[in-house]
């Protein structure tokens, strides 16, 4: 996927919301308990979180807790990763469903070129290859 450096990408909607599957992409430092923690000094890796994940199996670690207080997220991950809320909206018929993949990353790194040229296109590819119609982005 080619990403423009100048333009903000914008894709018009072609489906009604109640026919769309949504995934979450978050830079809040979300990962599964079983996944290796992000590097405190910066990390451009991302993790795929399965669509059927139990919120209790998620945790957070982040490089700069002084700049991002994630204590509330550890009590209730839905404050930055609203997986249970999406399921409720799907059950209520507001959206079509919850996608099979979500993405977690820390997003904090000094290696911006690698983030821009490798990580972000790889995330876009993961999303494109899933059953996702729309993405909820959260920054933490």
């Amino acid at each position: 996927m080619e990403l423009s450096r100048r333009c903000v990408p914008y894709t018009p909607l072609f489906k009604p919301l109640n026919k769309m599957n949504f995934s979450i992409v978050t830079t809040a430092g979300i990962r599964l308990n079983s996944q290796e923690p992000y590097n405190d000094e910066g990390d451009e890796r991302f993790y795929v979180v399965p669509g059927d994940v139990n919120a209790a199996d998620l945790t957070i670690n982040y490089a700069t807790p002084a700049n991002y207080d994630f204590s509330d997220s550890l009590k209730d991950v839905n404050v930055v990763f609203p997986i249970d809320r999406l399921r409720e909206l799907a059950a209520a018929g507001v959206i079509g469903g919850v996608a099979k993949k979500h993405i977690g990353l820390m997003g904090y790194t000094m290696r911006l070129k690698k983030m821009y040229e490798e990580t972000v296109p790889a995330i876009a590819k993961e999303i494109e290859r899933s059953n996702t119609d729309g993405v909820i982005l959260t920054a933490g």
Binding site: F22, D69, D72, V79, L137
Partner: protein, 55 residues
Amino acid sequence: MRPPRAIEPEGFKIGNSLGHPDQPDLQRQVVQTAIEYMNQLVMPGKVTPIHFEGY
């Protein structure tokens, strides 16, 4: 950061993107609002502030 479509819940602190812990109704309202705004936010990169009661 210039997302295609963005809302900003007014007054929410960093780390509370959707609200406080154990406020499922508010969290759901914020997510639903963001989703329903997808058809209304037509200026890429513009962040739209929205006030939510109960935060």
